[in-house]
Symmetry: C2
Subunit: 351 residues, 2 copies
């Protein structure tokens, strides 16, 4: 059994884009080695083999994050970079509760090995025909985030036309499917970052998907929303949210899920300038975090798996971008999130 682990620690909180090379004063992450404690009777020793890459991780290392204002404690400099991962149990303090060789989802951080409380590990039971990594995405926090945002937060119904930004991303691709195929929303309009992504989002069920990188984006979105929309599921914030304020129907509802447009933009964040629309059109904006609904997670996961088994939603290889990488390459893969190079969920399979 290993007595130490390689780990990526947060060396210096970034202001804007994380910096991957440089000296101790500037580089964001640093590869180090740390000793591993022996698991107690309530713990297991894990080996991570598949990492979840999430835009939210960027907010955990924000330079000015105030602990009480975050939904979890910010990561301090010198601590391992936070991440959820699928891991194998190498050693168990209580094999009856969690046997050696089983697979768990846990917040294992960017550590090769880690010791975790058994209660903090979610055992994964593989589904035939489903790649394990979907438990990081469609059948994981991402699927839950999509589900609660579109149901609990804005309560979308068959009466509603829905716009989803980041529609080709991990959460957006599930929102599109849930809105169209489970809730039967009248019309679902995606926003994504390339023509290719847009066509894929339409395959998932969107009535139409608009490319925000096209020079005609605003006109395209206006054309796609001639009667305005009741619901906007916002994964991106920034200019797209600002423009969408002008496309909301009176009393429209916005689920605010992420502001990736500003995560790497601390020194000059994009501000919302069309706020008067919120007043003149009585818009409701509701921010949310998946953790608020976590007590219903098992039940909801059942709903999503059933929907997949019934052929209502697609959960296949198209729904994720898997990057095989060495432990040394973890930060580079994670940062692909901010280049928009992934379609669906971006995961790192450690080799």
């Amino acid at each position: 059994m290993p007595s130490e682990t390689r780990q990526w620690i947060l060396n210096k909180k970034p202001v804007d884009l994380p910096i991957l090379t440089g000296d101790d004063e500037t580089v964001t992450f640093k590869l180090t080695t740390a000793p591993l404690p022996k698991p107690t009777a309530s713990q297991v020793l894990l080996k991570a083999f598949w990492l979840s890459n999430d835009p939210a991780q960027r907010t955990w290392i924000a330079r000015d994050a105030v602990p009480g204002r975050m939904y979890m404690p910010p990561i301090s400099e010198g601590s391992p970079m936070g991440a959820h991962a699928l891991s194998e149990v190498l050693e168990s303090g209580d094999p009856a509760r969690l046997p050696v060789g089983s697979v768990v989802l846990a917040k294992s951080d960017w550590c090769e090995f880690s010791v975790q409380e058994i209660t903090a590990c979610q055992p994964i039971t593989p589904l035939p025909g489903v790649r394990l990594s979907h438990f990081l995405g469609a059948f994981g926090f991402t699927g839950l985030t999509a589900y609660y945002g579109i149901t609990e937060v804005v309560n979308a119904t068959a009466e509603d036309t829905v716009v989803v930004s980041g529609a080709a991303g991990a959460t957006g691709s599930m929102v599109v499917q849930i809105a169209k195929k489970l809730l039967g929303c009248k019309r679902v309009i995606g926003i994504a970052g390339s023509e290719e992504k847009c066509r894929w989002v339409e395959k998932l069920g969107a009535d139409v998907c608009v490319n925000y990188r096209a020079p005609t984006f605003e006109q395209d979105l206006i054309r796609a929303t001639p009667d305005f929309v009741e619901v906007y599921y916002d994964n991106v914030g920034g200019n797209i949210l600002d423009f969408m304020l002008t496309r909301m129907k009176r009393h429209g509802r916005i689920a605010a899920c992420g502001t990736i447009a500003n995560y790497n933009n601390h020194s000059n964040p994009i501000g919302l300038k069309n706020f008067f629309e919120v007043i003149s059109n009585r818009i409701h904006i509701h921010g949310f975090i998946v953790l608020d609904y976590i007590h219903k997670a098992a039940e909801t996961m059942g709903v999503l798996v059933q929907a997949w088994q019934d052929g209502k939603i697609i959960v296949d290889d198209s729904l994720e971008t898997v990057v095989e990488a060495k432990f040394e390459e973890i930060p580079q893969v994670w940062m692909k999130l901010f280049e928009g190079s992934n379609t669906g969920k971006l995961t790192t399979k450690l080799i």
Copy 2:
């Protein structure tokens, strides 16, 4: 009876601050004369004598206002500038319904005389001891706006700590009183533009009022909200709203009533940059317009008048700034709104 009227028309929609002097190409308003039709059997001829000055009027003349996105049709160039006023009935098509000599509240615009439908006129029954102009403020749309925003929109209760911006203004001064004295909110914190205004807001019932023009404003507001706040009633938007996002408690509610910070700032509006707070702290933002609740207006007015009669809320001369002015001076008086020179409601008494 007059066969024509003096009127201020919208000459050129302003980009930023309205321009009061200049040529036809630039000047915002122009004093003209227009013929008056003879009132029909369903109409009255009115003479305006007391004008309501409202920040919202600035939004009615915004350069880029899209008709369907506004809560009322934007005013077109060449049309009279919109305004609510108290007027006397000079001639009535139906004296049994609305007698000559009675006083009405109507959208009489910046016109000396106007012909209005009787159904569009709200007859005013004077209250002993109450200056008539309070029917433009505390006992008018302003009081209603304050009431619905703090009750219906964010449903403030005795459990809540409430922050109110523009607290020395027409709406804010009523919000402070309703929140503290009618709803019994736990703590009410005002934000206003001078030390003198702040002390007055505290006299109205605020536990404390913070001067946003002080160099220590942000620290002062942090000190005034050590446990953060459940409710924010926003009359101003811009930087104050942006900062308040960082002072909201988890699941906090914001009533979005006005964004005066940007009304004269079209070419470079102040953007909201702290939007991530909406997500991380699950903030709810609800925009609203008093007109949505107008079917309850009579009942609510009864509540406010009763509260005043019971000595619970103050509705006296301190609650408004009355400017006596000639018809020619209407635009200048209105623009005092944007200098912050008024305490309470700003009204123009025509001389």
